[in-house]
């Protein structure tokens, strides 16, 4: 019940946005979030944006997974 994917906001209307995932765009409700802007990444589940993706955290996580320094000794 948690199938959700990050999509990039490419257009904003009042209550919805057009979000792009891997070359496909869909109209998504943004009524469960505030301050969504074009260029944001949002978590999409069942036609709705549930959270904004924190790009800084995402990049940190990507780095963490690549380096594996923290767990190399575990």
């Amino acid at each position: 019940m948690c199938l959700g994917l990050p999509g990039k906001v490419i257009k904003i209307e009042a209550k919805t946005c057009l979000a792009e995932i891997l070359g496909v765009s869909k109209e998504i409700s943004i009524e469960l979030l505030k301050d969504v802007s074009v260029g944001d990444y949002i978590l999409i589940h069942a036609g709705c944006a549930l959270q904004k993706l924190d790009e800084e955290e995402a990049l940190k996580t990507i780095e963490l997974y690549k380096e594996l320094k923290a767990i190399a000794n575990a």
């Binding site: 019940m1 948690c2 469960l32 979030l33 589940h45 959270q51 790009e55 996580t61 594996l68």
Partner: protein
């Protein structure tokens, strides 16, 4: 340009993590994931194959579809028999068997049953069909329930009178506590559901750690997320670090999504709920508040089938907790098969019993 999907499926990093796990020779640890989507992801990426026998990964009761009881499907089928009703549902529910039939079979007999991608799409069906009553089959945990709440709030705002939800929504906290306090269940740690957490935040898990002494990791759904979380959790368990780590910080904020929560609490309130194959877990469900009863299909349509007795002998509850195996259940492979499943473990194609039936593992 990152898409924040493929970066978390990087093959090199995944194989490095897989090797770390395969080479683990420490003490036996038991960890549980409680999200159906985690179960799917673990299956999809062949993650079990990478785990050594010393790491036991249990699939808990986290699939809202699988734990939906028979009588709910029977109620939906009965509604679909009414000529002025359109049933709108997530695809997941179509194949779940009720007592004698399924929504898919009913659809093939001409009943107006439509698969939708979002509860908001079912509201659109209601707008387009003012002479019909549209009933959306409302299931899910805290990830999905706020969206269902939103559809009710929008219906009220727009004055839509032919729309209702048939609710079987459930929540995580009580189920988690039931699993945790069971003395027979040896659980060393949890992989917490990343998207439920995006809504409810992580305070509950901190309670699980401080009150019950069980560590956990808030985990995303990509293979790197899951592998890294398992490695970290095993390490924390062994070094007795009873903490909750948020490994899905790119999506999960400590306080969750307050807007979504407030809409969910506005429309729904806690109630007791029956989990297929497990039975009643107090206060583990959500029902519509009285002030929205005009959107509550249980209120609008009287005489719908209610709870029947659970089949005697179903060991789903024990299997979901990792206490028993499918082979030990007397119903397994006799009365209970993938075509005629009794409990949740057989309903989902990735459920413990279904997987065992098909592949013997």
């Amino acid at each position: 340009m990152p898409n924040y999907i493929d970066e978390f499926r990087n093959s090199q990093a995944a194989q490095k993590m897989g090797n770390i796990l395969s080479n683990y020779k420490g003490p036996l640890v038991s960890i549980m994931e409680v999200c159906g989507t985690h179960t799917m992801s673990i299956f999809k990426y062949g993650i079990r194959e990478l785990l050594p026998p010393e790491i036991k990964l249990i699939s808990g009761p986290g699939c809202p579809v699988c734990v939906t009881p028979s009588f709910y499907i029977n109620a939906a089928i009965e509604l679909s028999n009414k000529k002025d009703v359109i049933i709108a549902t997530f695809g997941d529910l179509m194949r779940v068997p009720g007592g004698k039939s399924s929504l898919l079979k009913q659809k093939s007999e001409g009943k107006d049953i439509r698969v939708v991608y979002s509860p908001l799409d079912s509201l659109e069906i209601a707008r387009e069909n003012p002479n019909k009553k549209v009933v959306f089959l409302s299931i899910g945990f805290e990830t999905t329930t706020p969206i269902e709440a939103l559809s009710v709030l929008k219906a009220k705002e727009e004055g839509i009178t032919n729309f209702s939800l048939l609710c079987a929504n459930k929540t995580m906290p009580e189920a988690l506590k039931v699993l945790t306090v069971d003395k027979d269940v040896s659980l060393d740690g949890y992989l917490y559901p990343g998207h439920v957490s995006a809504i409810i935040g992580i305070a509950l898990y901190e309670e699980m750690a401080s009150v019950y002494g069980i560590p956990g990791i808030v985990t995303g759904f990509e293979p790197l997320d899951i592998l890294y979380a398992i490695i970290t959790l095993v390490s924390n368990i062994n070094s007795k670090k009873i903490v909750v780590e948020n490994q899905y910080s790119r999506i999960v904020a400590k306080e969750g999504n307050q807007i979504a929560l407030s809409k969910m609490y506005e429309v729904f309130e806690p109630c007791d709920a029956v989990w297929r194959g497990i039975g009643n877990i107090p206060l583990s469900g959500q029902k519509m508040r009285n002030k929205y009863s005009e959107f509550d299909a249980w209120e609008l349509f009287k005489d719908l089938p209610l709870q029947e007795k659970e089949a005697v002998g179903c060991l789903c509850g024990e299997i979901l907790k990792g206490k028993r195996t499918p082979k030990e259940c007397k119903l397994f492979s006799g009365i209970c098969t993938p075509e005629n499943p009794v409990g949740a473990c057989m309903v989902s194609s990735e459920g413990t019993c279904a997987a065992y039936y098909k592949w013997g593992t």
